[in-house]
């Protein structure tokens, strides 16, 4: 199963994938605690329209999907903040529109029709060095953001009012977060595809949350889970010759179920202890 490690291009893919896992693990607890899972689903699907637009216009899909995702992220954030339109309805409408728009654009593109399956569900063979560079840049941005605004975003997630009172620019931080999340999504989409990207951004923290009640530890566990998921995801994808998205999702879900069982066992043990006392 591990023979893929011998191939240079697979080594590169794995490095890129692990970088993406680290980034996803860093933001995923914030997404989960802010109950923004559906938003991340919306943004990842939205990138498809961006990718298709790039193909249609003959420019790099990376740039067009970045622009599209960041715009979408901030817009979804805005509807959510102002609360004038219902957020889940907005996302629900937008993401089906993005998929439809993307498919239309790709069908209309003359000549070379790219592998749509690859974009939707991830294709390891399509990953180029530039994807790995892109992932490293996003990792750098995310780490810097964490260093400077991490505490503020955690505080605002916990208690927005009090954060405002101690001088945190809650709204500004929120939009920055949406933009960063959109960039991360673009990087993730390259490795697991549009449809399944949100799983790696949500499930690691959802699992970690069941195992710890300390935020910093949850972040560490989420990063770790993300890294294992990507590793086995890529290994299975390569050895079974299946798209990378589903195989990553399988590992992510397995970890989620194991965490659920651990939590359940711990809970049972806890209640037994109470009986003994």
């Amino acid at each position: 199963m591990l023979e893929f490690l011998k191939l240079p291009f697979m080594q590169r893919t794995l490095i890129g994938g692990e970088l993406v896992a680290i980034i996803a693990g860093m933001v995923s607890p914030i997404l989960v605690f802010r109950k923004m899972s559906f938003m991340s689903v919306g943004i990842s699907h939205g990138t498809f329209a961006g990718i298709a637009l790039g193909i249609f216009l003959g420019i790099s899909p990376l740039w067009s999907s970045m622009a599209f995702a960041v715009g979408l992220g901030i817009w979804i954030g805005f509807t959510s903040k102002t609360g004038k339109i219902s957020e889940d309805a907005t996302i629900g409408t937008l993401f089906s529109f993005s998929m439809a728009f993307g498919i239309v654009l790709i069908s209309l593109s003359k000549g070379y029709h790219p592998d749509v399956m690859g974009y939707l569900f991830g294709d390891l063979l399509a990953i180029s060095p530039s994807d790995v560079y892109f992932a490293s840049v996003i990792l750098l941005i995310t780490v810097l953001w964490y260093l400077f605004r991490g505490k503020a975003i955690v505080y605002a997630t916990f208690d927005e009012d009090f954060s405002k009172i101690v001088g945190i620019h809650v709204d500004f931080d929120y939009y920055i977060f949406m933009a960063i999340m959109a960039l991360i999504t673009v990087a993730v989409v390259r490795f697991v595809g549009v449809v399944l990207a949100s799983s790696i951004m949500i499930a690691p923290a959802a699992s970690a949350k069941m195992l710890s009640k300390k935020f910093s530890r949850i972040v560490m566990i989420a990063i770790f889970f993300g890294m294992i998921s990507i590793f086995f995801g890529i290994a299975f994808s390569f050895s079974l010759n299946i798209p990378s998205g589903p195989s990553v999702v399988f590992t992510v879900t397995t970890i989620f179920l194991i965490s659920l069982i651990i939590k359940w066992i711990r809970g049972k043990r806890g209640s037994n202890n109470v009986k003994m006392v």
Partner: protein, 256 residues
């Protein structure tokens, strides 16, 4: 009288619905002010306006500057009304108190130490490492009080701080606030429904029920029909004087 806070014809509300209307009050520095009034009377709205959490018409002035300007440099000690927030978040009691020190230019270590001191003040030091979600409602409230104090603000705004607190914590809370108030010349504004306990400590009570009900001194208030105006004719009040030396308290009753 040294004036600390001036509320100048403040009107605020929600989506067209006016919750408080044309409220003007001057509040003295270093005093214990209590806002009373029935449910829905606008206490929370006024406190949130002062805290800068909702927009309002009118002006609020602190130490001769507009509070909007004041807030840019200074935190305010704020405690939200209980149940306003859902604290299912993996932060420990100590980490929650540290929030109050966000603005302080000090090392993380110093932040922790200071925060621990404030946890001690509310008798929660032994729970410093416990996730806030695992604390009882009253314990959570004490941690949040410590967080408000940790801002070391000259202004403490507390919205019904003692709801759900046991009697020992209540009297300790007042003693602690008295002490801090004297030491740091804090101006304290709390809202409360607890007529007896509060007025024993309060130096200024004012009542709002959408508009300001003319205010007077705490003890005088009890003799005047203001409370009746606010809470209805069937209320019965037992006077309750505070003597700082002895453990009290005589009972106070609100009867229907």
């Amino acid at each position: 009288m040294k004036q600390f806070l001036e509320i100048k014809s403040v009107t605020a509300g929600y989506d067209g619905h006016v919750a408080i209307s044309n409220i003007s009050i001057k509040l003295e520095l270093g005093k214990f002010h209590v806002i009373m009034g029935p449910n829905g009377g606008g206490k929370t709205t006024l406190i949130r306006a002062i805290a800068g959490l909702i927009s309002y018409d009118g002006k609020i002035i602190v130490e001769n500057v507009d509070i909007k300007k004041y807030r840019k440099k200074n935190s305010i000690g704020y405690l939200a009304q209980r149940g306003a927030q859902f604290y299912d978040f993996p932060l420990s009691a100590l980490e929650v108190v540290e929030m109050g020190r966000y603005r302080f230019k000090e090392t993380n270590h110093a932040k922790k130490e200071k925060s621990f001191e404030f946890l001690k003040e509310v008798r929660m030091a032994s729970h410093a490492g416990v996730p806030i979600a695992n604390l009882s409602g009253g314990q959570q409230q004490r941690v949040l009080i410590a967080r408000a104090l940790a801002t070391e603000s000259k202004l403490m705004l507390m919205d019904e701080p003692l709801t759900g607190m046991d009697p020992r914590t209540q009297s300790e809370f007042y003693e602690m606030l008295e002490h801090l108030k004297r030491e740091h010349s804090l101006t304290v504004i709390i809202s409360s429904h607890d007529v007896g306990f509060t007025t024993a400590y309060a130096e200024n009570v004012f009542c709002i029920n959408k508009c300001l009900v003319p205010h007077s001194e705490a003890v005088k208030l009890l003799e005047e029909p203001e409370i009746t105006k606010l809470y209805g004719p069937n209320i019965c009040l037992t006077k309750h004087y505070h003597t700082s030396s002895e453990e009290e308290d005589e009972s106070e009753g609100e009867d229907a």
